[in-house]
Amino acid sequence: MSAPLIEMRGISKSFGAVKANEAVDLSVAPGEILGLLGENGAGKTTLMNVLFGAYAPDAGEILIQGQPVRINSSADALAAGIGMVHQHFHLAPRLSVLENLLIGIPGKSGRIDRAGGLARLAEIGREHGLTLDPGLPVSALSVGEQQRLEIVKALFRGARLLILDEPTAVLAPTEVDGLFAALRSMAAQGLGIIFISHKLNEVRALTHRCVVLRHGRVAGRVDTPASTTSSEMARLMCGHEIVPPARGPSTPGAAVLTLQGVSTSHHSGMALRDVSLAVRAGEILGIAGVSGNGQRALAEVISGVLAPDTGRMTIAGKAVTRFSPREVQALGLGRIPEDRMTTGLVTNLPLADSMVLPRIGTEAFSRKGLLKPDAIRAFAEEQIKAYDIRCPGPMTRAGALSGGNLQKALLARELAFDPKVLIVSQPTRGLDIGAARFIHEKFLDMRAKGCGIIVIGEDLEELLMLCDRIAVMYEGRLAGTLDSADATVARLGLLMTGAGQAGEAA
């Protein structure tokens, strides 16, 4: 490989007592795609934020083409040719694609250079297959398109090194292919790329080299990811073997959740059209599908956030009438939302508050309108211990926890009440493999105890490993249901595109 494009030497960064990075060395050559791996909280994002100028390192230096540089702000980073696509995008939703692209770009003699922007946008689109409609407002773009815009923005500003922090966590499998093609095309032109992901098969397919972080330090380097097994990488990340849990045979009991002919009217995503399904005690039903095909509406109806226009739903044999969160909970439904940070938790309040939020009105946590602060605290402490949630205590701000720990907290708050049915969306999105493994095990435990579980997800391999049956959603309907014994990625993929109807109603 040629001389490095950028080099980080001996980077250390602490937050109070937490050593997020310690003496990390890392370099990227032109044309190289570098994978950055590590458990949740290993320090990947922190390291990249140091490179992008958001944090000043406590020690260490950054070299660009051999020259030491100081990067004190994102403006410095951009000027040095470093672009970053954060996990949460930084776009102005009401402005158009083109306007977003031109924000902060000095125009020609005080005027915005629209024509130049359009030309460059088209050029970048052609070169890497990153096409975008320049006139559309950002609010009308899908998540994948917004991400594409972030990449184009970085290229537009002349980035020679592109950092992507968990870009695939928000993408559907087909979108991932498009992203990878674009990244390979950029690397072929001599760009350096740093790619962060928890999905080891993606890392193996895409990257040329990997750096693995553990507790802020470099735990290992992988020079040939393509010929290194996922379990070897996992061992580097966690320090021990990760064995996928085995799903034993189950003997499903009676139906604990049924939907009959459920339809919803217009919805911000896709509405439901005549959906019928049943989940039995002791089984896990997967709901696969390209996101935006009604999964959100389905989750909202079952969670009691959205009342359907027509159709019936029962939980543990009882009809749901009001479709309120309190009602479905009282009937024995546990719920884990898709978006932990915005729907699940209150990031600015203590963790304990988030852990009791859905049941604050019940006898467990209040009486006659008065809170039971001791009971709330004790509950949170108990769950923190039981689920090994890493945090200083129940009064920590929830937003300070890592993704894996937040997910454990949400799981704990539902499972503590022995639900008869559990509905979860994207249960392991953004989690490292150790944390994902923990969540999977809990689901299998619940299944063994006779809980019926619905898992809505896009990761087909996860669904195949976890579920007894998998239903596929397409345009608001269930396109078919497969027994997991008969299901393959290929057959599911076919159903997901709307081709070929198979099986009976779920």
Binding site: V69, R70, T342, T343, L357, I360, L371, P373
Partner: protein
């Protein structure tokens, strides 16, 4: 070079240190103005202090002034906790004053009159606050704008009342008829104006603290304010919480008006509130929306107000300085609040 860096947790002592820091910065900044007005800074602040907190009579006067601001401060603190942006405490106070004055003018036993005055004042304030809350919940109308504009509506309605039907026919002044003597709030200390409403305010603060910190309604208010989406998913009726918050907030602001009518003026006139409703915003921010902090914050502002008048008489510095101090204190506090989310970090020179 120094720059801001996000922090993940806020040390507990910030709650106390930040307001003190803001007040300190305010006094330093305003000393420039005192010097400009040609007075000695130490002398001016000395007069301010002794006139507001220097002896027991001064202290009672300051407490009497602080009382309406404790109520409006609580009103704003409760509302802002739910992120119901009630800028209308001024109008709610006036409505409370008018309603309690109307009730107080009806002859009846004193205790009953006082009770009904409080009830009517609270109800009137709540009714006024209900308007912006309903507009927001039902039609997504911005509550800052609607609650603020409503203040003028209420103020001119009050003017119409005291220039019209309530006008004093004997003197011709635009003031309402006085309430019954028996409805005057009892004075607690002979020779001062320390009235029952002062005690009510001092009791209200811990009650509201308890409500926010220890009741399910308070929990719902906090959660709704911080993350309405998570609140809704968790089974909280966000709209209902906003309406309840507005009613509570308006009632508290209304009580501020009741105290002024029953304990200080015994009638309604156009300048019954020198902006106590707006001062409530400053008080609530200085208190960091903590109901217990509202009491010292209101006393501070009251001391500034009473002190500024004395200072003006003694040194010739215009009494408007009191308004400047209030405004500066609010700005200083807003800047200080930045440090709960960010820390300053020294970095090397840019490359």
């Amino acid at each position: 070079m120094v720059r801001l860096e996000a922090r993940t947790s806020t040390p507990a002592w910030f709650n106390l240190a930040l307001p003190l820091l803001a007040i300190g910065a305010t006094l330093i900044l305003c000393s420039g103005l005192i010097a400009l007005a040609g007075a000695g800074v130490a002398e001016a602040y000395g007069v301010m202090f002794s006139a507001s907190l220097g002896d027991s009579y001064a202290i009672t006067e300051t407490l009497v002034r602080a009382t309406p601001m404790i109520f409006t401060g609580l009103a704003v603190a409760v509302a802002f906790r739910a992120k119901f942006w009630n800028i209308g405490a001024e109008g709610q106070l006036l409505a409370g004053a008018v309603a309690s004055c109307a009730v107080g003018a009806i002859p009846m036993p004193g205790l009953l009159a006082m009770f009904l005055m409080a009830l009517a004042g609270a109800a009137a304030g709540a009714a006024v606050a209900l308007v912006p809350a309903t507009l927001r919940v039902k039609f997504k109308v911005d509550d800052v704008v609607s609650s603020l504009l409503l203040n003028s509506v209420i103020f001119y309605a009050l003017m119409a009342l005291i220039e019209g039907p309530w006008k004093d026919s004997f003197s011709g002044y635009p003031i309402s008829p006085p309430i019954e003597d028996s409805a005057n709030f009892p004075v607690l200390l002979e020779g001062t104006r320390l009235h029952l409403g002062v005690v009510a305010a001092l009791i209200a603060a811990p009650l509201i603290w308890f409500l926010i910190a220890r009741t399910t309604l308070g929990f719902r208010i906090r959660v709704t304010g911080e993350n309405p989406e998570a609140a809704r998913y968790g089974g909280i009726h966000v709209e209902r919480v906003l309406i309840s918050t507005a009613l509570l907030s308006g009632a508290l602001a209304g009580l501020a008006g009741v105290g002024e009518v029953g304990g200080v003026h015994f009638q309604v006139m156009s300048d019954i509130s020198p902006g106590y409703g707006y001062s409530g915003i400053v008080v609530a921010m200085l208190a960091r929306l903590n109901p217990l902090g509202v009491v010292p914050a209101a006393i501070f502002l009251a001391a500034v107000m009473t002190g500024a008048e004395a200072m003006s008489r003694a040194t010739g510095v215009p009494a408007f300085l009191s308004d400047v101090i209030q405004g500066t204190a609010l700005l200083a506090m807003l800047v200080a609040l930045l440090f709960t989310a960010y820390r300053l970090r020294r970095v090397g020179a840019a490359r």
